[in-house]
C-alpha cells in the first residue's frame, strides 16, 4: 500500500512541470497559435530559476524570474509568428534550438561552466510549493476559459478569428496575451524542474518535457482538466521508470535500464500517433 501512495505522490511531483507547461500550451493553442516552443521556454525557465534562486537565495524569486524569462522568449516567438506572420511550427523549433544554445552560453557567462549551475542548498529549493500552485492554476484556467470575457475571446480566436474581428475585438492582441502567458507558465514549469525536482539546472534538463506537455494537450483535447490528467499519466510513467531503475542494478541489465528510461517517450509516441485531428482541435490552429 505504501508503495502505491509513494508512486502516486512521486507521479504528482513529476507531473508538476508538465502541468505548468501544458497550461501554457493550452492558452496559446486555444487562441490559435501552435506553440512548439514550450520546450525552449521551459529550458530558459529552468536555467533562470536555478540561477536566480542561487544568487538571491530564494526559490520564490527564482520562480518569478523564470516566468519573466519565459515571457521574454515568448515575446520573441510572438514577434516572429504574430507580427511577422512566420510559420509557427518552424519558429517554435527555432526557439527551442535558440534556448538549447543560449542556456549553456549564459551558464558559462555567469558561472564559468557549461554543464550545470551551482547546486542549490535546501533552503534555496522548493519542497512542494509549485505543486500546490499548479493545482490552483489548473482550476483557475479551467474556470477562466469557460466563464470570463477574455476566456471567450481566446476560444473564439482559435476557432473563428474573423468572427472575433468582426465583433470588434483585435485578434492579434488576444493572441499576444495568450502567447506571453504561455511563456510565463512554461517558464514556471522549467523552474519547477531545476528548483524542486532537482537542485540545479543541467544542460538539456527538460529532455522533451515540453513535447510531452503538448502530447498531454492533444490527449486531453485542449481542455484543462483532461490535459492535466494526461500530464499525470506521463508523470506516472516517469516515476515507475525511476522506481524500476532503482531495482535493476546488475551490469547485464544496462540495456534493460535504457529501455525502461524510454518509457515516457514511448508513451508520448503512442499518444501522438493515436491523436488525429478531431472536432475539438481549435479550427484556426496554426493559421496566421
Amino acid at each position: 500500500m505504501d508503495s502505491v501512495l509513494d508512486i502516486i505522490l512521486s507521479s504528482i511531483r513529476m507531473a508538476t512541470p508538465l502541468w505548468f507547461a501544458a497550461m501554457g500550451g493550452l492558452l496559446a493553442e486555444r487562441s490559435g497559435v501552435v506553440n512548439l516552443a514550450l520546450e525552449g521556454l521551459m529550458l530558459i525557465g529552468a536555467f533562470t530559476g536555478a540561477a536566480v534562486a542561487y544568487n538571491m537565495g530564494s526559490p520564490v524569486i527564482g520562480f518569478i524570474a523564470a516566468g519573466a524569462a519565459g515571457a521574454l522568449l515568448a515575446i520573441l516567438f510572438g514577434f516572429f509568428t504574430l507580427t511577422l506572420k512566420g510559420d509557427q511550427v518552424v519558429i517554435g523549433m527555432g526557439i527551442n534550438l535558440l534556448s538549447a544554445g543560449l542556456t549553456p552560453f549564459l551558464n558559462k557567462y555567469f558561472f564559468h561552466v557549461t554543464s550545470s549551475t551551482p547546486s542549490l542548498s535546501i533552503d534555496q529549493r522548493f519542497v512542494y510549493g509549485p505543486t500546490l500552485f499548479a493545482f490552483g492554476l489548473i482550476v483557475s484556467v479551467s474556470f477562466w476559459l469557460r466563464r470570463s470575457v477574455s476566456g471567450l475571446w481566446v476560444r473564439v480566436a482559435g476557432e473563428h478569428p474573423t468572427a472575433l474581428a468582426s465583433a470588434g475585438i483585435r485578434v492579434k492582441r488576444v493572441r499576444w496575451a495568450a502567447v506571453i502567458f504561455s511563456g510565463v507558465f512554461a517558464g514556471f514549469g522549467g523552474a519547477t524542474m531545476s528548483t524542486m525536482l532537482a537542485s540545479a539546472f543541467s544542460r538539456q534538463m527538460t529532455a522533451g518535457a515540453g513535447f510531452m506537455a503538448i502530447a498531454a494537450l492533444i490527449l486531453g483535447r485542449w481542455a484543462p482538466l483532461p490535459t492535466a490528467l494526461g500530464c499525470f499519466l506521463f508523470g506516472l510513467t516517469d516515476s515507475i521508470q525511476i522506481r524500476l531503475q532503482g531495482q535493476l542494478t546488475g551490469a547485464d541489465s544496462a540495456w534493460l535500464l535504457q529501455l525502461i528510461q524510454l518509457g515516457p517517450y514511448i508513451v508520448t509516441l503512442f499518444v501522438l500517433a493515436g491523436a488525429i485531428r478531431s472536432s475539438s482541435t481549435p479550427k484556426a490552429l496554426g493559421e496566421n
Binding site: 466563464r147 470575457v149 473564439v156 473563428h160 474573423t162 468572427a163 472575433l164 465583433a167 470588434g168 479550427k283
Partner: protein, 517 residues
C-alpha cells in the same frame, strides 16, 4: 432625409479599381436592394460602410453627420450591423456566447477590473434575447452549439445578434444564398417586420426575383459605379438585368427538343453517401441528358462527386450495389482510369480543386489530363500540343484575355471558370460533372457556360448538373433529382416542375429534423 448617404466613394487596389464613384441614399425604415454582377463593387461598398475597408476618398454621412469609419467598432457604435455572406459564427461555441461576443455582459461587482478579466454574466443577455426572440419570431436554442444548428437557424442567430447590439442599419450580404425557398419566404417576412419597426435594411444580392419581392428600391452597381436607383414598384426583372449588365441578354433554356439516347452513361444503385443516413442513393443518367441535382448544400452532393471521381478510394469506406460508368463496373477504378474513360469534372470550388492560381493558362490546362496520349511523348510532356490545345480551348469558350502565359490569378473569376470548362470538355468526355458550374461568375460567363452545356448535351454528352441555384437547374435539366439526406428524395421531369415543388422536396426531412426550428 436620407439616413445613409454615400458620396463619391472610391477605392482601388493596385491597378484594380474596385469602387470608382459610389453614391447612395437610403431612407430610414426602408429595404433597399444593392444589385450588381460579381466584381461590380457592391461588396466593397458595403464593407466600407461597415468599416472593414477604408475608402481612398469620398464622404459617408449617417443621420446627417459626416463620419469616418475606421473599423467595425466605429460602425457598430453608430448602430450599423452586418450579416456576412459567410457566417461569422464560431462553431465550437454555443449560441449565446456567439451573440454576446464583443458586447459581453459582466458582473457589476467586477466593474473595477478591465473588461477582459471580468466574469461573464450571461443571465442578463438571456432574458433580453428571450424577449427579442418572441418579439421578432426568431426562435433559437440559446444553449445549442452552433455546429449542431441548421443553416436557417444559424442565420437567425446572426440576425438576433444584430438586434442584440441594437443595430439600426442592417447590411445583409447575399443572405439567401444558403436558404431553401421556404426559408427565404419566412426570412423575408421577418425582414419586412424589422423595416416596419424602423430598421433600415440594405440587402446585397444578384437574385433579381428576390429583390423584386422584398425591396422598396434598388441601386444598381456596374463596374465600380452606382448607375442608378429605381423604385421597385416601377421596374421589372428584365429592366434590372439590362441595367446590371448594360445590354440585353437572351435567356438560355432547355427546350426539351432533343431525343435522349437509351444508352446509360452512369448507373448508380444503392450508393452509401453517408454511413448514418437511413437511405442510399440510386440514380442513372443517359447519354445526351442533363440530370439536375437539386438540394440544400450538405445533403450528399460532395460525397456523390467524390464517389464518381475517385471510386476505389471512396468505396473503401462506403458500400454500393452497382456503380457503372459507360457500361463498365468501375467500383475498383482509380481516378486516372475514370478520366481516361471519359469523365470530366468542373469542381465546386475552383480555387481549392480546379486551378493553380500561381501558374499560367497552359500549365493549368494540362491539370488532371497529363496522361492524355495527345499530350505525351513517352514519359515527356509535349508542351507544344498542350499550348495548341489551350489556345483552342480559350477560343472556343471565349476566355479573355487570350494570353497563354498569363498567371491564372490575373484572370477574372468568370474567365477562370471558362478555362476549367474548356479544359474538361477538350478531351470529349462521355460524362461531365458540373458542380456549381456558374458559382461566383458574371452573367456573360453564365450564359456562355449554359449555352455550351446544352450544345454538348445535343452531341450526346451526359451531364450531371449539381447546383444550389434552382433557376439554373430548372432552365437546363432534362430531369431533376432532389438530393436530400444523402438519398434521392424525388425525381421530376425537367419541363414539368417548378421552384415550389423542388423546395418542398428539398426540405422534406428538415421539417421533421431535429434542428429544423
Amino acid at each position: 432625409m436620407s439616413q445613409i448617404k454615400l458620396r463619391g466613394i472610391h477605392k482601388r487596389y493596385g491597378d484594380c479599381i474596385s469602387n470608382a464613384d459610389v453614391n447612395l441614399d437610403v431612407r430610414k425604415g426602408t429595404i433597399q436592394g444593392i444589385l450588381g454582377e460579381n466584381g461590380a463593387g457592391k461588396s466593397t461598398a458595403m464593407k466600407i460602410l461597415y468599416g472593414l475597408i477604408e475608402p481612398d476618398g469620398g464622404e459617408i454621412w449617417i443621420d446627417g453627420v459626416e463620419r469616418k469609419l475606421k473599423s467595425p467598432h466605429d460602425a457598430k457604435a453608430l448602430g450599423i450591423g452586418m450579416l456576412h455572406q459567410h457566417f461569422m459564427l464560431s462553431e465550437a461555441q454555443n449560441v449565446i456566447e456567439n451573440i454576446v461576443l464583443g458586447q459581453e455582459p459582466t458582473h457589476p461587482a467586477l466593474a473595477f477590473l478591465p473588461l477582459a478579466l471580468r466574469a461573464l454574466k450571461l443571465g442578463d443577455a438571456r432574458s433580453r434575447l428571450d424577449m427579442l426572440m418572441r418579439e421578432h419570431g426568431l426562435p433559437v436554442d440559446l444553449d445549442a452549439r452552433i455546429s449542431d444548428l441548421s443553416v436557417g437557424a444559424r442565420q437567425r442567430v446572426e440576425i438576433l445578434r444584430l438586434l442584440y447590439i441594437d443595430a439600426r442599419i442592417l447590411i445583409l450580404d447575399e443572405p439567401t444564398a444558403v436558404l431553401t425557398p421556404q426559408e427565404v419566404g419566412r426570412f423575408f417576412i421577418q425582414l419586412r417586420a424589422l423595416a416596419d419597426q424602423g430598421k433600415t435594411i440594405l440587402i446585397v444580392t444578384h437574385k433579381l426575383k428576390e429583390l423584386m419581392a422584398i425591396t422598396d428600391s434598388i441601386t444598381i452597381f456596374r463596374a465600380g459605379k452606382t448607375i442608378t436607383t429605381v423604385d421597385t414598384k416601377d421596374t421589372d426583372a428584365d429592366q434590372l438585368a439590362m441595367l446590371m449588365i448594360g445590354s440585353r441578354l437572351e435567356t438560355v433554356k432547355n427546350r426539351h427538343d432533343v431525343t435522349r439516347s437509351a444508352e446509360l452513361a452512369l448507373e448508380i444503385e444503392e450508393l452509401e453517401l453517408n454511413k448514418t443516413a437511413p437511405r442510399r442513393c440510386t440514380l442513372n443518367l443517359r447519354r445526351g441528358e442533363i440530370l439536375g441535382i437539386a438540394g440544400v448544400e450538405g445533403n450528399g452532393q460532395h460525397e456523390l462527386v467524390e464517389a464518381l471521381r475517385h471510386p476505389s478510394e471512396f468505396l473503401k469506406h462506403h458500400k454500393v450495389k452497382v456503380l457503372k460508368f459507360m457500361d463498365q463496373d468501375v467500383r475498383h477504378w482509380k481516378t486516372a482510369q475514370m478520366v481516361e474513360t471519359g469523365l470530366g469534372c468542373i469542381p465546386a470550388d475552383r480555387h481549392e480543386e480546379g486551378l493553380l492560381l500561381a501558374r499560367n493558362a497552359v500549365q493549368n490546362f494540362i491539370l488532371g489530363h497529363q496522361n492524355q496520349n495527345s499530350f505525351r511523348a513517352g514519359p515527356f510532356i509535349r508542351w507544344s500540343a498542350v499550348r495548341r490545345a489551350t489556345e483552342e480551348g480559350m477560343a472556343s469558350c471565349a476566355v479573355v484575355p487570350k494570353k497563354l502565359d498569363l498567371e491564372l490569378s490575373r484572370f477574372s473569376g468568370g474567365n477562370q471558370q471558362k478555362l476549367i470548362f474548356a479544359r474538361e470538355i477538350h478531351h470529349r468526355p462521355k460524362l461531365l460533372i458540373a458542380f456549381h458550374p456558374t458559382r461566383g461568375v458574371d452573367i456573360g460567363a453564365i450564359n456562355l457556360i449554359h449555352k455550351k452545356l446544352l450544345e454538348l448535351r445535343a452531341e450526346g454528352l451526359a451531364i450531371l448538373l449539381i447546383s444550389s441555384e434552382l433557376d439554373e437547374i430548372l432552365a437546363l435539366s432534362d430531369r431533376i433529382a432532389v438530393l436530400e439526406n444523402f438519398a434521392i428524395a424525388k425525381t421530376f421531369d425537367g419541363g414539368a416542375c417548378d421552384e415550389t415543388a423542388l423546395g418542398l422536396a428539398m426540405t422534406g426531412a428538415q421539417e421533421g429534423g431535429q434542428h429544423g426550428l
